[in-house]
């Protein structure tokens, strides 16, 4: 700065730690970074689920043919979903479990719809790493995931093994006694 011989400017620059040029550098850099981010974002965002995948958001399913003690696996948003018609024994067992025994405490009521307790509707991917557990097996009269040994009870709650959470209950509602809408 001294070499320019502009006394006014140079004294100013010496007294403050930043000067106009520093400001211009930072401002230019900041605008450049925002611009680069704006260009990169669409290049990454294209990886997200596309409109056709998102469009399959809700399905309706007739549960009338499922007898007590039977389950079916249906597909929703590409995910397998269990629809289980539970026996009274299973419901009783699920209600009898003290909350303190649960890794991810949730009551049986919170996992079913009032008046439809016999129906258990859950996403069928193990909350560990996503395998489909085998029904009516394991040590808690529910599901057993053979991949790494997670046991779920008759309300689909995790009881033992590496899975951290209960099987996920998707958003759903009963349109009538025999028709459910998932999603």
């Amino acid at each position: 700065m001294h070499s320019y011989g502009e006394t006014d400017l140079s004294t100013q620059a010496e007294h403050s730690s930043t000067n106009r040029r520093d400001f211009l550098y930072i401002a230019t850099g900041a605008v450049g970074a925002v611009g680069a981010a704006a260009v990169v974002w669409p290049l990454i965002n294209q990886l997200n689920p596309d409109a056709s995948t998102l469009a399959l958001a809700s399905i309706q399913y007739n549960i009338a043919p499922i007898e007590e003690g039977q389950s079916v696996t249906i597909t929703w948003r590409g995910l397998p979903v269990f629809v289980r018609h539970r026996t009274p024994k299973e419901i009783e067992e699920a209600k009898a479990v003290p909350m303190a025994d649960l890794k991810d405490p949730e009551t049986d009521e919170a996992r079913t719809k009032p008046g439809h307790e016999q129906w258990l509707i859950m996403i069928a991917n193990c909350t560990h790493l996503g395998c489909i557990p085998v029904g009516q097996s394991g040590d808690f009269d529910g599901w057993f995931c053979p991949c790494h040994g997670s046991h779920y009870d008759s309300a689909g709650r995790i009881r033992r093994g590496p899975a951290p959470k209960n099987l996920v209950v998707p958003p759903y509602e009963f349109l009538s006694d025999t028709l459910v809408q998932i999603g």
Binding site: N48, P49, T75, G78, L129, G130, C147, P162, P164
Partner: protein, 417 residues
């Protein structure tokens, strides 16, 4: 890079080229005249074998991509079409699939060679880290390649591994959806994995170039780990090591060819000849054999640690196992490189190798006793080796006396024989 060149352009054309782009000089310096320790054993041929493996995967892969269709409805059939209808397709597809396994055989040997002879120590830390990067990239490439035939193991392996992302707190599920392009593994996943499976080998090739650059700055380590002192310790790379490497490649091709011609499917899993089905999980999911040790560590953590749940814990352990490799140059501070002169290290190294094989075996077993407990023990030893044994040994061990030079040790061996 230092000048080892004895290159004198012979003709006017060579001279003209040498003044503008000295590629011939470069090749002569680095592929022919490069001074190489004269005591390298056959464990040192695996670097060249790995370059060959990468070449084989790229050539066979580009051919497969001419016939393969990355679409969930057609992928499975297109691989069968390659195997049955394309001229020579049976052998080309088998070479690619078996080639991936052979690639990892060579990778593991190459890495364990480095761990025994202390090749990661100064001044070769960057060289070693680039090697670990190549290992991780190759693992990712092989994982994505295994999805392409769209069999049951392809699909469920992808499901299990992509769920690893969902263990990340808060943003995990969004990241998983970003990676898969949907709520589950599906057509978008297959398409992008194919694109990346085609890209990554070329990135690997670029990192290999850096790896060899980083090798040619300090030069090779050697079985006694003593630095090169003068020209009596070395021989030119060509013809001494070009021939030795070539011979190593020929030996390596024997089991390779045996698999390709007589047992192309033996390293794969029979479930992968059933087309992917998102409604049924195979009763027992096993990744490819080369991923098993890390898979065992992932699932060994089936208990919560403080506020970290078992799933995130497993992911951290698996990442940590790989991170140990990255930082080993700073964990093993012993001044002596070669395990040959480290009486205590040798034993623990031997245990580490056995433990690694045990981890591999356990990854293929069911999640039941006694395997689950053994998996925890072996996982613990893996970390103990890097985080406790190596640093402690570096302090307490008294190494055997080192030979004063490479040529002395070579001539000394001769005198004994």
């Amino acid at each position: 890079m230092s000048e080892h060149s004895t290159y004198v352009p012979g003709t006017a054309v060579e001279k003209w080229l040498d003044d503008r782009l000295p590629v011939v000089r470069f090749a002569k310096e680095h592929l022919m005249d490069f001074p190489t320790p004269k005591n390298l054993n056959y464990w040192w041929t695996f670097g060249a074998i790995l370059v060959m493996c990468l070449g084989v995967q790229i050539v066979t892969g580009i051919i497969l991509a001419m016939h393969y269709v990355p679409n969930v409805a057609l992928a499975f059939d297109s691989v069968e079409h390659i195997r049955r209808d394309i001229s020579g397709g049976r052998v080309i597809q088998a070479t690619h699939a078996v080639g991936a396994s052979m690639f990892f055989v060579a990778l593991y040997i190459h890495m364990f060679r480095g761990l025994f002879y202390g090749s990661y120590k100064a001044p070769r830390e960057i060289l070693w880290i680039l090697g670990v990067v190549i290992f991780l990239l190759t693992t990712a490439t092989a994982f994505m390649g295994y999805i392409l035939p769209w069999g049951q193991m392809s699909f469920w392996g992808a499901t299990v591994i992509s769920n690893i992302f969902s263990a990340i707190p808060l943003v995990g599920d969004s990241i998983k959806q970003l990676v898969l392009g949907g709520f589950a593994v599906g057509n978008p996943t297959l398409n992008r994995f194919f694109s990346l499976h085609y890209l990554l080998p070329f990135i690997i090739a670029a990192v290999v170039a850096l790896h060899i650059w980083a090798l040619h700055v300090p030069g090779n380590n050697n079985p006694i780990g003593v630095d090169v002192k003068d020209s009596r310790d070395t021989v030119p790379f060509h013809p001494y090591y070009t021939m030795k490497d070539l011979f190593g490649m020929v030996l390596f091709m024997i089991p390779f060819a045996w698999f390709v011609f007589f047992a192309p499917d033996i390293l794969g899993h029979p479930d992968n000849y059933i087309m992917a089905n998102s409604q049924v999980t195979p009763s027992h999911i096993v990744p490819e054999w080369y991923l098993l040790p890390f898979y065992t560590i992932l699932r060994a953590i089936d208990f919560n640690i403080l506020f970290i749940d078992s799933k995130l814990g497993g992911v951290i352990a698996m990442g940590g196992a790989m991170a140990c490799l990255l930082v080993v140059p700073w964990l093993d501070t012993s001044k002596v490189r070669s395990g040959v002169f480290r009486p205590m290290f040798r034993w623990f190294y031997g245990l580490f190798v056995i433990n690694f094989i045990a981890l591999m075996y356990l990854g293929a077993q069911e999640a039941a006793e006694p395997y689950t407990t053994l998996a925890k023990v072996c996982t613990a030893f893996y970390f103990l080796y890097f985080l406790v044994i190596l640093p402690v040994l570096s302090r307490i061990e008294t190494p055997k006396p080192l030979p004063t030079s490479i040529s002395e040790s070579v001539l000394g061996n001769k005198a004994h024989a």
